[in-house]
Symmetry: D2
Subunit: 434 residues, 4 copies
């Protein structure tokens, strides 16, 4: 056992003070017609949780895991996988995610790397079968190796571009084999460090070509995995081409890819882009592009990716309200792309971080359901837009209004009546639920 001191985490209700218990996440409890498990579709990530050891730009790793001897051996890779599945079972959550190079070592050639990866994939398949846990998504790491220092799909060098394609091809294949429900594309170095040495247009064209090639190959091998782009504004690159949800949606529309890709939103990235925590989830959902969520949190006063567990109940409430309103996450999930703080060095901290994260989203789900069922806020909003449900307003929504019909209406209507936005009252009402 990797975590002998950690028991299976049980639901003990809101009054529990046991840090190794759930206070709000009661997996099979029905909320608005679905189990909490179905609404949340929680997922563990292989990188932060099983590869992260607390290194930061100013310091060495602080964490030791007794299941990890820090070597690049296949045995070690499998031990880490064992630990991951033990944690999945102990937390009782149903999905996991990985990068190709998290779960399997990089060899000295592509062929060698792929051969090792195949062996690991077989091992993962076994563990999936054994535990019933499923793969939410796989992705390719096109940013850690020095060869990608100038980008993967946007590298100025065609050989590197081809290398990136080869990794992407393999991930589509293994994801298909493992029944992964999505494939994610996060392009940490797809952007520019300096406009002086960059041909922005060519790089964007190449990125679009890469996505088209991925889509075609997914179709060709018969995979139906949903393809997801994960926006981030900057870091490690100064400016990333996939800045935020609307930039990505615009990019997809510009290159005619809007039918084939959705987005995987990480709220930590959203706040780095200057938007509220829930903003990208909201606009992506409303425009029909919300595929999945990396349910972490950032610090709005820090300018880098902190990948913290979300501790703000108001934020989880708003997010779960959007999720309920779009009928659930479908093929997506709530993936814990989160890491414990560098100073939280014990295995117990790893579990407590996840339990807190799970419980905060579960609490948010409960709050959101209550808000929707009470229908106070939504009614107020509906009433606010009521003039677009009839008369001239309706012609605007139907597309038949013109500036001339508008002018005729406006002259007749005279000065519009002033209507308070009542923001403080909305906020007061929201605070009743959190």
């Amino acid at each position: 056992m990797s975590f002998p001191q950690i028991p299976k985490i049980e639901y003990k209700g809101p009054e529990s003070t046991d840090p190794l218990s759930y206070r709000f996440y009661n997996k099979s409890e029905i909320i608005m017609g679905k189990t909490m498990e179905e609404w949340c579709r929680f997922s563990l990530c292989s990188w932060h949780t099983f590869r992260g050891k607390g290194a930061d730009p100013f310091g060495f790793p602080t964490m030791k895991r007794h299941f990890d001897d820090e070597s690049d051996s296949m045995e070690n890779a499998k031990r880490r996988i064992d630990a991951m599945f033990e944690m999945l079972v102990k937390l009782d959550i149903g999905y996991y995610t990985f990068h190709d190079r998290d779960v399997s070592p990089e060899g000295s050639t592509l062929e060698e790397s792929n051969k090792m990866l195949d062996e690991i994939v077989d091992y993962l398949a076994e563990k999936q079968k054994e535990t019933g846990v499923k793969l939410l998504w796989a992705t390719q790491n096109l940013f850690s190796h020095p060869r990608y220092m100038n980008g993967g799909a946007t590298n100025p060098d065609a050989t590197t571009f081809a290398y990136a394609c080869t990794q992407a091809k393999k991930v589509i294949e293994i994801n298909h084999k493992l029944g992964g429900e999505n494939v994610v594309y996060w392009g940490g170095r797809e952007g520019y460090q300096s406009v002086l040495n960059t041909d922005v247009k060519r790089e964007m064209d190449h990125m679009a070509a890469f996505f088209r090639m991925c889509r075609d190959y997914r179709d060709k091998i018969g995979s139906t995995a949903q393809l997801l782009i994960e926006p981030k504004p900057r870091e490690p690159t100064k400016h990333q081409y996939d800045y935020d949800a609307q930039t990505v949606i615009g990019f997809l529309c510009t290159y005619g890819l809007q039918g084939d890709f959705k987005v995987n939103i990480e709220p930590n990235h959203t706040t780095l882009a200057g938007h509220d925590y829930e903003h990208d989830i909201l606009v992506a959902s409303k425009l029909g592009f919300l595929g999945s969520i990396d349910c972490n949190s950032g610090d709005p006063l820090l300018g880098w990716d902190t990948d913290m567990f979300c501790t703000d109940i108001k934020k989880t409430t708003l997010v779960m309200k959007i999720v309920i309103e779009q009928g659930g996450l479908h093929a997506g999930g709530l993936n814990f792309d989160c890491k414990v703080r560098r100073e939280s060095t014990e295995d117990r901290d790893l579990f407590i971080g996840h339990i807190g994260g799970i419980d905060n989203f579960a609490r948010g789900l409960r709050n959101a359901a209550k808000i929707i069922q009470d229908n106070v806020i939504d009614n107020m909003v509906k009433e606010r837009y009521a003039t677009f449900d009839e008369g001239f307003g309706k012609t605007v929504e139907e597309g038949t209004a013109t500036l001339e019909s508008a002018a005729a209406f406006a002259v007749k209507a005279g000065e519009p009546e002033q209507k308070s936005g009542r923001q403080e009252e909305y906020e007061m009402i929201l605070n009743r639920y959190v």
Copy 2:
């Protein structure tokens, strides 16, 4: 005369220490086949320069102009117009811009407002004829009046939406009458203050409807003015739907309006959105959407719109390089949406601010031309992407590459050669020109 103490501003060359002279802007001098005037197409704005009096959220106006008695009378409006044309002539620049409510008072009804506006438009037409100055663009103010507190085109109330349409209709008409080369849409309150009381999707749909109606009306009356949306991320609204260039381009593509609108970039807004000064100009240009530029500057450490004259020569150099590369601004221009500091209370400051702004872009133009003609930087960039000019790289650009052809190529090519990005050398070379 409005500015009796200010002479006509002359070009006196780089050694001049006369603040009321140009050191770099030599209007008729030919640079790379065009006059400086043709490249720059400078424009004065009617709002900051002739209506701004130094009020800020914490203080009352500080500036008095002897041509302005602060009244809402038509006489006063015309005196301000006289002052504007006097300044245009003294600075020797060829374009101006206005909002409907800057140049003409708001009456107690729409009809009254429009009647006064018609009289003002006649007066402007006369002044244009008299001086040869042209209208770069007109726009409608849909943000100052309390009726627009919840937005214009995105107002939850259909009557207010109709009111906004009516103003937009009038502006299309008067712009056409005055030969304005563009119409600009800046939606200061088209966004949300709180997601709690906002139906984001309906508001975006209404905004798209508004733009469609504007386009249709422009076509109907036979105007060929270019339509421009001006992005801004926030302020006065917490989140604006027209966040930055790529968000606007994505919006246009989402709603099928990409053939009809371009963007008017204000670098001050670009930095507020978290991008480098030149970023939005660059991506808009490369994607074919750059229409015009409000050539001001912000302070990256202040979180609000400061609308300063640009004093950074490196920035003006980068911008003018992009302008030259796209063959000029066509119907657009460099519009001084800039204001002197609140403490710069004399008329002389107003001229010095503009002279500095003009000279800095003129100096940038000279630098940019030299960079392009020397061709050192561009050659380095071209060389950097050379592997996409042939072989596998070329198939990527031609759209015939697949993940499989890429993989075959990658396996054969082996580990890509490492190539330095040489950013410090690019920066060193750039510093030779500024």
Copy 3:
């Protein structure tokens, strides 16, 4: 009556859904030995609440109050005061605050302004007597009038400096007369817009001289009001000399004023300075400088002062914990330097904003008391520092340790034991209380 439609606000308990009731603020309820009223010492401000009308840099006022005819007359000033005291009584809170120029008009000379102010002060004294409401603090407005555009106490012109002193003198006098418990100094324009035209050293020296003169005069007239400086990093000035709590404390120590001034912390300013909401309150309290709190809130993604009511319960909990730990606010209070949103145009919104603010701090007080009484978190913290309670650690705190004694201890002790910081567990525990 100014607010005929608004009843007296009563405590109705946590289940109340009446927006015009308190759910958590039960004035006379005893919490840890004091009434809620004594802990909170809530205060209304005269500026945002009674003078603010919703103007912003891009728009005209949106709010009309029927008690305010917008004139500068003394009758109007008194009507606004009547409204303020009616609101104080209806909300049942005990303190108010004002700037000299909020409550009384500015005349054409200093003498005239002071004469009007004297009449208003008599009127305020009457209202205080009538209602039992007290003055928390008064302050001088040295930023709105154009004469202060280059600063008050840091103005490059000695005549303006003297003018500022004269206003400050008068405020010390009237505050004394009205029994004000503090005098506040907020220097909105005490800083620089540009280092090019500023002698930073002379300006800081003048600011220190101003504070010394104020202290001396307070002492001379026998006032015992606590003097408070309110930090803010920027806005309206680019850089303010009173950037944040520690900058102000450093300034006071540099100029030998540390015994005479404390700080008035506005968390909205704290976040603008790049610190967490509670940071300045915490460090000011721990260093013995926390005098009073302007209990508003900002938006960390907006770069300007939004002066919102605080809606984040976790933040109010942390603040009230600090307040309890220092034994209350003493002469200070929780002053609502808050404004309703520009779109919240009804009188009812004004009350709801304040009720929400009061309730959120009352809820925070309840949470904080429970945290302190349970003593789980504080015990964990105490244990974390236990090695400084004895042995070598104790000599560090007593001031007798040397590098040599430390080295001797370290060599003997060997590699320190690793101790997890357990941040996720602290956060999980905090979430049990909110």
Copy 4:
């Protein structure tokens, strides 16, 4: 030879296009009475330049140096030192800086680490003698090793505190032995990650105790090295106690250490703290606390430490103007705490980065001297404050003014005359020099 392909860098004048030459730095040229070398006192750092290999939070190292076999051996340490001195000689600069753990490996015990460090120090002494290069400063690394994850001088554990003291003691000794002119204290983890688990007051007290102990030991061993604290607002810690220059100065005054410590300013940290590039250098200089400068640059749009070479001539001009005004840097210098971009992988890039940095400060020095000699700007500033040179203003500066004398003066003087701040003109004049 470590850099066989790199020649000695020579001054070739402003027209040179050889990237491996100086265009502005002419070491022995006299500027305002001192050589350029004396004004600039350039210094190489051992960490970024000789230990940095391009790793970032998302990627592995990209750079290989053929003098570095990546081992922890003493031979390797000495080879790196050889490379450093070769570079010092080739760049012809006179100073270097190091952390204890950059130049010498960490052993398994303190004793072992110190023994190896002694050997390295002997080697450095030899190299100094051989080349004439001097040590600008040494410092202790109290942030990289996991033992310091919760801080060094502010660690909650007294044993770790003692460990930090022991390293600091050793650095004071070896710095003294090597003739180092300063000792620097940068506390990367002296701050808090979470207020929940932190006793801020005790930690600040411990930090003050640490500084007192360092000062006492320096005095005891007869060292006269200047002690310098280096401010930084955050990163790696969320909030550092040494936030910016004024916070540090305030801290020193609070704990009575103001006579013993100065500050080492890194402008990259200044901008992270929300201030203009030159701000901390300016206020530290004017308050008498400017000791030395880490002459790098950040990106105001990125929220982390980029440690770039400064490429902005206006900034280097402003900095060198302050340096000239305080009569030079005395014991301090301009230390290149800078790194080449991760993608700039060649040795040549390392030289070009430094050459660019040196030349930009040299160009700034030339500009600053010209500004001071022309005396246009300083005269305008002096004139701006002239009213404090006589009459009432003078009594303010002399400390004899009172609120009463001010009021008497103000009443007599009447409304102050409005004087424009003329910021645009100052900026225009500055642009003549850059």
